[in-house]
């Protein structure tokens, strides 16, 4: 019974932590733009959270710089289970134009497991919303 309730609330209101791991700010601004009136993801119960301890979904933007590497893993560890990770933007997927730079790890999936990839440089807010919908589908089916 309780499990059903948690599953229901998880699907109806995923809380998101936005973590910039060295992105150029474009994806970050588009993530914020998704919260504002034109796109307004809050009507689906999606809420941006400030701390990893409250979050269900970590949205990572950026190609993971060496400085952010330890912090990214720490934030992932701090997030309570079950946790889901979205790699948002071409950088978080593979490194984008920065590929080959000395301070770049190149892709979030080299450090932590990723559930959904959202391509685009930068992503559009609608793409982000679709990514979240895909993630919710995945959670519903239980195929993590």
């Amino acid at each position: 019974m309780l499990q059903k309730l948690t599953q229901w609330s998880r699907l109806k209101s995923p809380w998101i932590l936005h973590l910039n791991t060295g992105a150029c700010n474009a994806c970050d601004i588009e993530v914020v733009a998704a919260l504002t009136p034109r796109f307004d993801v809050e009507r689906f119960g999606i809420l941006l959270e400030g701390t990893p301890r409250h979050a269900d979904v970590i949205i990572c933007t950026g190609p993971a710089t060496r400085q952010m590497k330890d912090r990214l893993i720490r934030v992932y560890d701090q997030t309570p289970d079950p946790k889901f990770v979205m790699a948002v933007g071409a950088c978080a997927m593979s490194g984008c134009v920065y590929r080959g730079a000395y301070n770049i790890i190149g892709g979030i999936d080299q450090l932590i497991p990723v559930d959904v990839y959202v391509p685009g440089c930068p992503i559009r807010p609608d793409a982000l919303i679709e990514g979240v919908v895909k993630l919710l589908d995945k959670i519903k089916k239980g195929t993590k």
Binding site: N20, A23, D28, A33, G50, T51, P122
Partner: protein, 400 residues
């Protein structure tokens, strides 16, 4: 007793990783220290491995908000190195995009300032209208954020009559909305009272600490690269340099609102006087050995690119001095002797663009004293709590 509070690097209020270490005495900040490098990617080194044309797209991705600033600054420098002159129409379109970018950046900042001051409905309103600018940029360039409109020797896309009409129509809406925000700001005493007197930076300090952009202009120094050293077509465009005398966050807000109005005028002028002709000239693949310094007035202040060529199809050195980096010294000064609750507001007021500034790594030793981890969001709550029951400063005036 004083103790240190590290803020960040995970940073919900500003969306970018930066660490601030403040030493506090009760509520008052005695010492502040910035810890950088979380966003360092190695763009300058990477630029040496890419060709002149490839580098336009790399430079654009230094920053997502002022992407056109970096690309234009770089392209202007390369054009000087290659000794080519872009056609008039190309320059007009380039400057048009750059003014549209200034509008979207200032609107973005206005929203963030509203959010940090606890005026969230203002934030939502402003960001709704920012979508109008994003739509214009999308019709011109095909993308919302990284426009990719610059090419060496001109621009990549032309404007047609329909687009010009669409931009002029949208501009009318934006003008009305901005006038409304101006009015909203003037008649909203709690908003004015929250911003007035916060983050004081005197005129002398602003000059000696090399502040740039709206931060400098809000301290009463009329300095703008567009006026002082006109690049592209700014020599023939009529506009004013906006300043404020209050030297605080309120002044920085006023300067940005005034600049919005100026940008609308510039855009209208550019569209009405758009010359006919080609939009680009063919650029050579190599540049002769030489060096150049390129200046550009980005929304946040003066942007400088130093480019050195060695005769090949790749640059030998590209150095970027982003405006945020120039404003860091002034920020430390502004934070000192302020309240902890004002940190997000002061820090947001320079419109920091961490990704722009992070090309040099500063190494700071971690100190092992008593520490308390504070996130920006809890700081914001503290800031709201503190000012909630404060008596409204009736005498605070909006200096517009």
């Amino acid at each position: 007793m004083s103790f240190e509070i590290p803020i960040g690097p995970q940073h919900p209020a500003l969306k970018e990783p930066v660490g601030i270490r403040v030493t506090v005495d009760g509520e008052i900040i005695r010492e502040a220290d910035l810890r950088l490098g979380y966003n360092h990617r190695g763009v300058e080194k990477l630029a040496e491995q890419k060709t002149w044309t490839q580098n336009i797209y790399l430079m654009e991705r230094i920053c997502g908000i002022c992407s056109h600033s970096h690309a234009t600054c770089y392209v202007q420098g390369v054009e000087k190195l290659m000794e080519i002159e872009p056609p008039k129409r190309g320059l007009y379109i380039r400057i048009l995009v750059s003014e549209l970018e200034r509008v979207h950046s200032h609107l973005l900042w206005l929203g963030v300032a509203g959010h940090e001051a606890g005026f969230d409905s203002f934030f939502m309103y402003v960001w709704r209208d920012r979508e109008i600018v994003m739509d214009i940029l999308e019709t011109i360039s095909g993308n919302r954020v990284h426009y990719g409109i610059n090419a060496i020797g001109g621009v990549r896309r032309d404007l047609d009559e329909m687009q010009i009409k669409h931009i002029l129509d949208s501009l009318e809406v934006l003008r009305q909305r901005s006038a409304y925000y101006e009015k909203l700001g003037t008649t909203e005493p709690s908003f004015v009272a929250r911003l007035a007197g916060v983050g004081y930076l005197s005129k002398e300090e602003a000059i000696s600490l090399c502040a740039v952009g709206p931060t400098l202009r809000a301290s009463g120094v009329p300095m703008d690269v567009r006026k002082d050293d006109p690049y592209a077509v700014y020599g023939e465009v009529p506009f004013e340099v906006c300043t404020a005398e209050t030297c605080d966050v309120l002044g920085r807000t006023v300067v940005r609102i005034k600049e919005l109005m100026q940008s609308y005028n510039i855009i209208e002028f550019l569209l009405k006087n758009l010359p006919a002709g080609p939009i680009a000239v063919r650029a050579p693949r190599r540049a002769k050995p030489n060096e150049v310094v390129s200046r550009y007035e980005a929304p946040r202040g003066e942007n400088i690119h130093y480019i050195k060529s060695n005769g090949s199809d790749k640059p030998e050195r590209v150095k970027v001095r982003a405006p945020t980096l120039a404003n860091y010294a002034a920020t430390i000064k502004m934070l000192k002797n302020g309240f902890i609750a004002d940190v997000p507001l002061i820090f947001a007021a320079i419109d920091p663009c961490i990704c722009c500034a992070e090309r040099s790594v500063a190494i700071v030793d971690a100190r092992t004293e008593q520490e308390k981890i504070v996130t920006m969001s809890s700081l914001r709550e503290l800031s709201l709590k503190m000012t909630k029951h404060q008596a409204r400063k009736r005498e605070a005036e909006w200096p517009l």
